[in-house]
């Protein structure tokens, strides 16, 4: 029996019964995974600006300290914004969790190996930057405790999930950035969004 984790299953388990959590999805496969779990106005999926997912999550977490903020991104996107771990480590938002779906590949560009395939340890970097908890997750039995951390745990949390380098079918979110940002603000802020 293969115990290997698949990205779609991990994200579906994380976003099932999602309550009022706010989600930022890094560009590429992570955004498709979040959309496959159910397109939602309080998910902000990125189509560009690679490396920005964690910083968008930080701005959101500081603006909405009573809401949980979850960033779902890939290892390649995280590597491009590695400095943002240090920036988050200074602010230490208690309501922020980063989940990195680490397939050790650049999935959108031909499955080239990323730095994590060569042993670069993202969770150790997050720990060194001051994240309260930074773990590598490899087994399906670890998904339920991870979910508990994301929804209840004291942040900032960093959860690096080792997943198979598979390419599930594309499930694309809306592409218009103005639409994505407007619908997010209206769902979160109501009349104050206008």
């Amino acid at each position: 029996m293969s115990a290997a984790l698949h990205r779609r299953d991990v994200v579906k388990a994380l976003l099932r019964d999602r309550g009022d959590i706010l989600v930022v999805a890094g560009l590429g496969s992570s955004a498709w995974d979040c959309t496959a779990a159910g397109d939602h106005p309080l998910t902000f999926p990125l189509w560009g600006a690679m490396g920005s997912a964690c910083m968008i999550g930080l701005g959101l977490a500081l603006a909405q300290p009573r809401r949980r903020v979850l960033i779902v991104t890939g290892d390649g996107e995280m590597l491009m914004g590695l400095g943002s771990l240090a920036t988050i480590g200074v602010q230490r938002p208690r309501n922020l969790a980063v989940v990195v779906l680490d397939n050790e590949r650049y999935g959108e560009t031909g499955m080239q190996k990323t730095h994590t395939a060569y042993g670069v340890d993202l969770a150790a970097a997050a720990r060194a930057c001051g994240f309260v908890k930074a773990r590598v997750i490899r087994k399906s039995t670890e998904i339920a405790p991870m979910r508990l951390d994301v929804y209840r745990g004291r942040g900032p949390l960093f959860l690096q999930v080792k997943v198979e380098p598979d390419s599930p079918p594309l499930v694309l979110p809306p592409r218009d950035g103005t639409h994505l940002s407007r619908r997010f603000r209206e769902a979160l802020l109501g009349p104050r969004a206008r």
Partner: protein, 188 residues
């Protein structure tokens, strides 16, 4: 530590018009800016201090300038307003991330202290300093110029109005003449 030859001094009420960092801070307050991110620059020293001391502002030091564009986007999604402080050399770091503001129509307010202008003593600052206004314009950013201390409040207010009321990307470039020339002499 290297500092510029002319550092703006904290001012008394009498010469408040000369306290341009104080005037910018007041303009940011007037526009309800709550998150101020920065990569330090000697020219922004006092404004950073004012923002850090302000209990109604989250001051966020960055490792690189483009982080501040993501932060501003997240702040806006969450219902807050942000500003980003940097030196002109940081504009080059921001280029691809500026597409976030262009594609999603987030308000983006950047306050940029200029290097590479008249009197610059470090030749390595000149290429990026010279290219800064054009780089911003190519990135879809509207550029305002602040060259006189007395204009600090009105110019930054005007820029913030365009950014937040029209959901636009806006930069105020602050003249090197206003900030002072970095002397490369040890100072305390």
């Amino acid at each position: 530590m290297l500092k510029r030859a002319i550092i703006p001094k904290p001012t008394t009420a009498l010469d408040a018009s000369l306290d341009w960092p104080g005037a910018i801070h007041r303009a940011l307050k007037a526009h309800r800016v709550r998150q101020v991110s920065y990569v330090p620059d000697a020219g922004h020293k006092r404004l950073i201090e004012l923002c850090r001391a302000d209990k109604n502002m989250a001051a966020v030091p960055l490792t690189t300038e483009e982080e501040g564009i993501g932060l501003a986007a997240g702040a806006w999604l969450g219902g807050e307003r942000a500003a980003l402080l940097m030196q002109s050399s940081g504009v080059g770091n921001c280029v691809n991330t500026l597409t976030l503001a262009a594609n999603c129509r987030f308000p983006l307010l950047m306050l940029i202290t200029m290097r590479g202008e008249k009197g610059e003593l470090n030749p390595w600052q000149i290429p990026m300093g010279q290219a800064t206004p054009e780089t911003l314009k190519l990135g879809g950013v509207r550029v305002f110029r602040l060259a006189r201390e007395a204009d600090a409040f009105s110019r930054v207010s005007e820029a913030a109005g365009v950014a937040f009321d029209r959901c636009a990307a806006v930069a105020v470039t602050i003249s090197q003449r206003l900030i002072g020339i970095k002397s490369f002499k040890e100072q305390r």
